[in-house]
């Protein structure tokens, strides 16, 4: 039974069941053990993730083409933002932080506080080209010898 305490203008509820009632402090795994388990799966998960990138590139390219030809609208802007958002959120998880950075750049360039007519399509195109290159060459992060020009290009590709 939840205990409810009346206050002036509001109530404080003390739920009976909390996460503590379901989580023991014995018999569990260490964080190190959990991470080892995850490491064993990461190679396969990363391959699946990379296999999905061509479809992402196609979606971005299709939306961008429409906008470049003057035939796109809010739906295309939202499609670009959504793909950028997903890249931003997952690149790092699959050990491809540069993809995450590219995604973040696309998000910044297509967020809903930018009017459709003010979209910097050329910069978005640069990000798409960088994504295609990074995916093809499997450039994960700044320790890759091929990463330096990509990182420099991303820094240049920020809106002024």
């Amino acid at each position: 039974m939840t205990k409810i305490v009346q206050m002036e203008g509001y109530e404080i509820h003390h739920p009976k069941f909390t996460l503590k009632t379901k989580v023991d402090k014995s018999g569990g795994l260490t964080l190190e053990e959990m991470e080892k388990r995850m490491d064993k799966k990461m190679a396969a998960l990363t391959e699946q993730y990379l296999a999905s990138i061509p479809a992402v590139i196609e979606i971005i390219d299709t939306a961008l083409n429409k906008l470049e030809k003057g035939k796109g609208g809010i739906a295309e802007q939202e499609a670009l933002f959504r793909q950028g958002h997903d890249l931003k959120g997952m690149g790092g998880s699959f050990d491809y932080p540069i993809m995450g950075t590219i995604g973040e750049g696309i998000c910044t360039l297509t967020s809903d506080d930018i009017e459709l007519s003010d979209l910097n399509l050329a910069l978005i195109r640069v990000h798409l080209d960088l994504l295609a290159y990074v995916a093809a060459k499997r450039i994960k992060n700044d320790t890759d010898p091929n990463a330096a020009p990509i990182i420099a290009a991303l820094a240049e590709a920020k809106p002024k």
Partner: protein
């Protein structure tokens, strides 16, 4: 036996509209020994699953389709269709501006974790949520976990008075 958090009995529902995220989250949860994990892609199926079999924690993204995650949080907090309004809700999102975190808090989220997510970051948040349960506040314009304590990782953010 050493004392380490045993998450095996936890039941989790996670909500994200991206298949890769499902693949990743399922693997992370399994690595943490959380075997009872159900994934869904939108708000409607999340609420249906919560009714079918209540979850101990809901993990959700803010960018869902067609409804967004904030609406789902509010619907859970209203106890829509009889779901448990007190269910702990962890937002896992790539929308990480302070305004996004504040919006999630004000919608009724319990905690917030920025993407990209890893075993380590999710472990940290779950342990925090286990060790630091929040009471619930019900007021005319808000129902959800007490906002007067900052969310983990956002201790400097504007606090509710």
């Amino acid at each position: 036996m050493a004392n380490y958090y045993n998450f095996r009995n936890l039941s989790v529902i996670f909500v994200d509209d991206n298949r890769n995220m499902h693949m990743l989250m399922k693997s992370i949860l399994l690595a943490m020994n959380i075997v009872n994990a159900r994934g869904c892609y939108d708000a409607k199926s999340c609420l249906a699953k919560m009714l079918e079999d209540p979850a101990d924690i809901v993990i959700l993204d803010l960018s869902l389709n067609p409804e967004n995650g904030l609406d789902l949080i509010r619907r859970i907090r209203q106890g829509e269709r009889g779901v448990d309004a007190y269910t702990p809700i962890l937002v896992v999102s790539g929308q990480t501006k302070l305004s996004n975190v504040v919006e999630a808090r004000d919608a009724g989220a319990t905690e917030f974790l920025a993407k990209p997510v890893s075993v380590g970051s999710l472990y940290d948040r779950l342990v925090w949520m286990v060790e630091n349960p929040r009471v619930f506040i019900k007021a005319s314009e808000f129902i959800g976990p007490d906002r007067r304590r900052a969310m983990r990782g956002y201790e400097g953010m504007e606090r509710r008075k």
